[in-house]
């Protein structure tokens, strides 16, 4: 019976609506499905412009937009202890049973997990990205991750490659890490009623035009494909610093009529762009999962992608053509995809995607992780400190010091605002007046 216990979950990340992206979508859809399973979900993020305070979203999803301003790449300033009072207040007033942090980039996530563990809550962490081991940024990020994951109850990764990467970076025991892939909202990403007619083949690219997403590969691949196939046209959606290079390539090879640059595409318009094409091209140089591929497949497009990170795990072999992140190999993959096009039925592909990737399934699997996390034994401060101490000769001592200060600050905050002064929020049910 314990496994059917309903949880009150606090999702924490710097990345959430009105921002759009993989992490934001993941938190939103996972929360909605957990609400449908009978759990209570509260999201905590930083303020976005004028969007501060408490807001309610579909299905009664409660969101705390804490008035901490982002300072870099949508991240709040890492203060270590500045967020302790507000996190403590939310945990108590919402009667939270478990804290779920998302994305290693998020400073708010790291701080929330640290304070929650200090307060004795069980925590789960989901890693959505892959990182290197060599550059300064990655070394620093990996140390921060090692600190956070030294004390988590359970961790989740979006692919087996991502799990391997996280285990290597953080030193977390592999048995504590679960693989739960992302899903796609198949109701939102449907194929068009009619397949794009005519002899023309449209290849769609939708991604941020940055180095990591392989924009430089596109610069070399597009002219080559256009030269080989006079009936191929490219539609490029997205914006970024590498857009200039694509514009230059278009001018240089006189491809203005064959390469359409859409600029930034709002999430609501992605489906209408996808259904205008036959092939989806993903040129990422690193990817933990790649939801864009799922969205394209759900719209009935055959995918051509670089064989990087967790991409080979995402789709069945007959739905995707993989290539090395090399222009020559990618051109060969596109040639293969064009030859496979007559066999592709968008409607059949969509129906398969419906069965393969559902957010309900993701929520059910996440629920199992929550149940396991709540069964983890409680540890006293000394046991926890010994785990931090094993994080490195100097780093271990530093982590211990950070945690000791956190414990002392918690005692101070408890004196300043005793638990009985924090009101628990009343329960209320959301009535659905509309028919689904």
């Amino acid at each position: 019976m314990a496994d059917h216990k309903k949880h009150i979950i606090l999702m924490v990340s710097d990345f959430f609506y009105p921002n759009f992206g993989g992490v934001e979508n993941h938190i939103y859809y996972l929360s909605q499905c957990l609400l449908k399973l009978g759990h209570k979900v509260v999201v905590m993020t930083h303020a976005y412009g004028n969007r501060t305070g408490v807001r309610y979203m579909t299905g009664g999803l409660k969101v705390y937009y804490v008035p901490w301003r982002p300072f870099l790449m949508q991240n709040t300033l890492p203060t270590f202890y500045g967020t302790l009072p507000i996190i403590r207040t939310i945990l108590i007033r919402e009667k939270i049973s478990l804290v779920h942090g998302h994305q290693a980039f998020s400073t708010l996530c790291h701080e929330a997990l640290m304070h929650a563990r200090t307060m004795g809550y069980k925590v789960v962490f989901t890693d959505h990205s892959l990182y290197g081991f060599a550059d300064v940024g990655s070394i620093h990020m990996n140390k921060v991750l090692q600190f956070t994951l030294a004390d988590v109850s359970q961790a989740i990764c979006v692919s087996h490659t991502s799990k391997e990467n996280t285990v290597l970076r953080s030193g977390l025991p592999p048995e504590k890490v679960f693989v739960i892939p992302n899903a796609v909202d198949t109701a939102m990403f449907k194929p068009g009623p009619e397949r794009p007619l005519g002899n023309e083949i449209v290849i769609v690219v939708i991604s941020r035009l940055v180095y990591r997403k392989g924009a430089d590969l596109l610069v070399e691949v597009i002219p080559e494909v256009c030269h080989l196939y006079p009936n191929v046209r490219f539609v490029v959606g997205g914006d970024g610093p590498k857009r200039v290079r694509l514009e230059e390539m278009r001018e240089k090879h006189s491809l203005q009529d064959r390469v359409e640059m859409l600029g930034a595409v709002p999430h609501a318009r992605v489906q209408s762009v996808l259904i205008s094409g036959h092939i989806f091209l993903n040129s990422s140089l690193t990817e933990a999962f790649c939801i864009a591929i799922l969205e394209a497949a759900s719209c009935g497009l055959l995918t051509v992608s670089t064989r990087v990170g967790g991409v080979p795990e995402v789709l069945p072999d007959d739905m995707i053509v993989l290539a090395e992140p090399d222009p020559g190999d990618m051109v060969l993959a596109i040639r293969k995809a064009i030859s496979l096009l007559p066999k592709i039925d968008p409607q059949v592909m969509h129906e398969r995607m419906k069965k393969l990737y559902t957010w309900h399934d993701v929520a059910k699997r996440t629920e199992i992780v929550y149940n396991r996390a709540l069964k983890c034994p409680n540890q006293n401060l000394l046991e926890r400190l010994s785990r931090y101490l094993s994080c490195g000769a100097w780093a271990g001592k530093l982590f211990c010091l950070v945690m000791i200060i956190d414990v002392l600050l918690l005692r101070l905050v408890q004196l300043w605002q005793p638990e009985e002064d924090i009101e628990e929020v009343p329960e209320f049910t959301v009535s659905n007046n509309h028919q689904d």
Binding site: Y17, T52, G53, V54, R55, Y56, M57, T58, L61, V63, Y64, Y65, V66, P67, W68, G82, P85, I86, T89, I90, R93, Q417, P418, E420, D421, E423, V425, P426, F428
Partner: protein, 183 residues
């Protein structure tokens, strides 16, 4: 007369004489000796420090007067803005008067005509360090909400009867779902 308390506040509700129509709700700050004690200690330390410097170190009267001046400023800062109670006077068909009573005896009053109040709402406020419930008034022709309690953050159980009284006075339906919906 209705009255109940918690660790920090006392809520009282009575009807103003001679007319039973006028509804008065008070949120009274309960005496907390910690603050006064800290102020007294700080003032004492400042004064003693000044006197010692004046007597032992043979330093000018200027330093002594400065210590007196700083002590006075400290006491003023702590007590001038300190609130004793906040009141809501509901006058049906006329308006709502919001009062803030300070330790110094000063009373700040704000009057809102009944016709200007569109709806009283209970909202959750979030600051960078805490969350609390607040009672606000949605006013006609104004983008910003008006806080009923400017200085104090009483608990929800004290706000609910005031909210209900305001709803009745304004003729708006009591609806518990007062938060903004998004999505």
């Amino acid at each position: 007369m209705v009255e109940f308390s918690n660790r920090r506040f006392t809520y009282t509700h009575d009807h103003k004489w001679p007319s039973e129509e006028i509804d008065v709700h008070h949120i009274i700050v309960r005496k907390r000796n910690t603050k006064g004690f800290l102020v007294c200690i700080s003032a004492f330390v400042l004064l003693v420090n000044g006197l010692l410097l004046f007597l032992v170190k043979d330093i000018s009267v200027g330093i002594l007067s400065w210590s007196f001046f700083l002590t006075a400023i400290l006491i003023k800062l702590m007590f001038w803005k300190s609130v004793v109670k906040e009141s809501v006077v509901v006058m049906p068909a006329f308006g709502v008067q919001l009062e803030t009573h300070y330790v110094s005896g000063r009373i700040a009053r704000r009057f809102v005509p009944i016709g200007k109040i569109l709806k009283p709402v209970l909202l959750e406020c979030v600051t960078p360090i805490t969350c609390y419930w607040s009672l606000s008034l949605i006013l006609r022709g104004e983008a910003d909400l008006m806080l009923v309690f400017k200085e104090l953050h009483p608990p929800m159980k004290m706000l609910v009867p005031i909210w209900k009284a305001l709803c009745i006075a304004c003729g708006s339906e009591e609806s518990s779902d007062t938060s903004i919906k998004d999505g």
